[in-house]
């Protein structure tokens, strides 16, 4: 009998064959291991994303939610409160607002690449993608430049879960707790010394005449750090992996960097790090002969919708000429990723610099070590050999 266990290391390593069976044979599947329904077809996911009244985020959006997070962040509230909160945060992430980050990202990428100059092999994750994302995010939020390494390690740990117990382990919860405390200290710091930054804006903002609760400010910052560091770094690693595995595409990008944005969109579709999020049903829904009940959780498998042959022809092929409009790499609907403009810009600039310095590279590892996570997917190390 077919099973889909998002905690299983086999799904971490390669979810795509499972997704295909889900889409073709079980488009509305009850996963006992995850204790939720799984929607895997593009159309069903888009329909759910556009219907927040039915598919609510207020009970959490991560496959394994963290304690006391739901209801306190953008991703875990529904409109109208969500919309007010989002309008406060969004101004910092518009295309115009992030344009100023082009040169800081470039400088940051070059610092990381300087450090591996002359090396025959290096780990793209620890030597490049983590360094660049942490560096840029600290600049974006104007965070004190201490603890950089610690913040990165905790951000990566807090999104993981334990494959044996099928829940978050003590080390993952401790990482989340650490990040919450870190965010709390940042809030206290900015209350004492307000600045021209996002944290200060959140503290001073009002939603429907009320200031945000400290917990909301804290959890929103925690989430932005998690998404900014873990999610962007994970995407960069997947992008580098695709370019290692598809030498023709890489050479075209190196010869013509104007193609890089198209390759980014295709990577977002093909295998982006944000694979699965969840919603909670507010009423009974009939779908593909199944009845999902109010109160049930539903996994929206973006990574599967992005490989749905009903939407994308030859979906299993990495094709930088595809221009896959409407992909689910950033989710969609009211909760679509806040950082799309920032992520696209950072990925483009980092890729431009990387290919200038390292146009030819191959993967060293045959098998990659994958992060144990029910929500995100990226390798914990990606060793590349130059030349």
């Amino acid at each position: 009998m077919f099973r889909f266990d998002p905690y299983s290391p086999a799904v971490d390593a390669d979810p795509f064959p499972f997704y295909k069976t889900l889409r073709d044979d079980h488009p509305c599947f009850w996963s006992e291991e995850a204790n939720m329904w799984v929607l895997s077809r593009y159309d069903d996911i888009v329909t759910a994303l556009n219907d927040w009244e039915t598919y609510s985020s207020a009970k959490g959006n991560l496959m394994d939610e963290m304690p006391n997070r739901a209801g306190n962040t953008l991703g875990t509230t529904d409109p109208p409160r969500h919309d007010r909160l989002r309008s406060i945060v969004q101004f910092a992430f518009t295309k115009k607002a992030v344009e100023g980050l082009t040169e800081p990202v470039r400088a940051s990428a070059n610092r990381a690449l300087d450090a591996v100059q002359g090396e025959k092999t290096f780990d793209f994750v620890s030597d490049v993608s983590s360094k660049v994302t942490v560096d840029v995010l600290f600049g974006l939020f104007n965070l004190p430049r201490e603890n950089e390494r610690m913040v990165r390690d905790k951000a990566v740990l807090m999104v993981q879960s334990d494959p044996r117990t099928r829940q978050k382990g003590p080390e993952h919860l401790a990482a989340f707790q650490w990040m919450s405390e870190y965010a709390k200290e940042l809030v206290e710091l900015r209350k004492r010394e307000p600045g021209d930054d996002l944290i200060t804006a959140l503290i001073q903002a009002e939603v429907a005449g009320e200031k945000l609760a400290d917990r909301e400010v804290q959890m929103t910052i925690t989430t932005l750090i998690m998404a900014g560091i873990e999610s962007l770094s994970g995407f960069l690693a997947m992008f580098a992996l695709n370019l290692a595995d598809h030498a023709d595409a890489r050479r075209r990008l190196a010869a013509n960097p104007a193609l890089i944005p198209d390759a980014i969109e295709e990577s977002l579709r093909f295998n982006t790090s944000a694979q699965r999020f969840r919603r909670c049903l507010q009423k009974d829904v009939e779908l593909h002969g199944q009845t999902m009940r109010a109160g049930d959780f539903v996994c929206l498998a973006y990574g599967s919708g992005n490989r749905d042959e009903r939407r994308f022809a030859n979906a299993h092929l990495y094709d930088i000429d595809r221009k896959p409009k409407g992909h689910l790499g950033f989710g969609g609907g009211v909760h679509a990723c806040l950082g799309t403009a920032f992520a696209r810009l950072a990925a483009r600039v980092a890729c431009e610099e990387f290919l200038k310095r390292v146009p030819e590279f191959v993967r060293v590892q045959d098998q990659l070590p994958w992060m144990p996570s029910t929500t995100f997917r990226s390798p914990t190390r990606l060793e590349l050999a130059v030349g």
Binding site: R311, G331, G332, G333, C337, T340, A341
Partner: protein, 107 residues
């Protein structure tokens, strides 16, 4: 389900069936309507799904939210009285037959 006619800036017409509950942007993108980009995924954060809604129907739509109003100030093409972001318009049977014109450029 509603039949929606998208008219590109150059006059090209496309009639698209969009399921109830989807947004105009999702329907357009799904059907390959070139003049809608929808870069932000539908969260009202980029103004690249700008459209001009049928004058006759524009007042019957729920009015733009504060965020949409703000983003309509950032469109790449001229904002008109019937300008909307297509990611903020959810399809219902009432929109059947609506005509949506697309601007010259989205970004």
């Amino acid at each position: 389900m509603a039949k929606v006619t998208f008219i590109e800036h150059d006059g090209l017409e496309q009639v698209v069936d969009i399921p109830t509950g989807w947004t105009l942007m999702q329907g357009a993108v799904q059907s390959g309507v070139a003049g809608i980009e929808g870069e932000c995924g539908g969260s009202c954060a980029c103004a690249t799904c700008h459209c001009y809604v049928d004058e006759a129907l524009v007042d019957s739509l729920p009015p733009p939210s504060e965020t949409e109003e703000e983003m309509l100030g950032c469109t790449a093409s001229e904002r008109r009285s019937n300008s909307r972001l297509s990611c903020q318009i959810r399809v219902s049977d009432a929109l059947d037959g609506i005509v949506v014109r697309l601007p010259e450029t989205q970004s």
